[in-house]
Symmetry: C2
Subunit: 199 residues, 2 copies
């Protein structure tokens, strides 16, 4: 038996597809939307539609963007000799927030994960190789996540790109700022020790 | 500086208004919507719009419904002599799921909470009194939440309705099914003891 009116059931079902939203949060959101003004709910519906209508992927680095090129690729002050490889556009944003990288990006669209059937062909590796052809790029910083898939992708890229005469680097792994040594896991601590630098 | 393309920023801002959605979940959802097909994203946008266009509140009990009357109020097999008072439509759904109540409902639209400036006038108490006028109703079951606001509302309703010759009852408070006595808080255990029944 259906308990909610059909449009409510329908919205709950649609919301449940979203990442991190289960049936309880979905019905909470649906009832919240019932309670707000028609304009506020329409603003959300419109924002979703606009996203699909106006936003696409950058033709060069596959970051999300409006138009042909993303903000980073369109910015001529960015150093074209260094490319930072990330898994997803939000990783790119995270690095942009740190304001410590002045080069260009390349969004792979994921990481190598044989279990999920994702190999190099499912990622934008070919496009990355294409960008290295001109000889402008001298360094590729691999900023995939420091987990199994991200590490595997980093190793794969290193083996693929080094023979082309490009310097391949990996972002540092170690203790996050503000962490307690006492509670750090041994793998992270080991990495922090391996990556120690002279002060 | 904005990091995302404008439509992305805009959607993230709209999603952040939803209950339980912070900036991180919002951008996760936005990027998820970027990755799905245009039809799937439009289905969500449409579901939100349909909710506002088609769903309103029942003219009798203020449950959510399509049309004039909700499913419960339109169902003539439901006992009109017992009204169960709940705070929100989703509480009504929760009770319907238990399949242990065959009467009608009344949705207050919240609970008395002086701190939030919500008194009886902000709730649908007047409408409840109106429903008691015919003399058909013999019992009002107060099923507000067993927290401070819900208890205050229950006490208020009991004082208001008892002089009208209506039996006012409160849903039982005690240990949830499957709970461990050992880990129950003392207030709940005290309630469970007070409410003990002969087997």
């Amino acid at each position: 038996m259906e308990f909610y009116a059909e449009p409510v059931e329908n919205l709950v079902a649609e919301l449940c597809r979203l990442p991190g939203i289960g049936p309880k949060s979905a019905s909470r959101i649906a009832f919240y939307l019932m309670s707000v003004s028609a304009e506020e709910a329409s603003a959300l519906a419109r924002a979703i539609q606009e996203l699909k209508d106006r936003v696409s992927y950058c033709g060069v680095c596959f970051n999300v963007c409006e138009g042909e090129l993303c903000r980073v690729c369109a910015d001529e002050r960015r150093d074209p000799s260094v490319i930072c490889v990330v898994e997803e556009p939000r990783d790119l944003i995270a690095i942009e927030r740190s304001a410590r990288f002045a080069g260009r990006y390349h969004v792979l669209g994921g990481a190598i994960s044989p279990i999920d059937g994702i190999g190099p062909d499912e990622l934008r590796v070919r496009e990355l190789l294409g960008r290295l052809e001109g000889g402008t790029v001298t360094e590729v910083v691999v900023a995939t996540n420091p987990n199994t898939e991200g590490e595997a992708t980093a190793i794969y890229l290193a083996q693929l790109l080094k023979p082309l005469g490009v310097k391949v680097t990996r972002i540092a792994s170690g203790l996050p700022v503000g962490a307690d040594l006492e509670y750090a896991d041994e793998v992270t601590l080991g990495r922090a020790m391996d990556g120690r630098r002279e002060l």
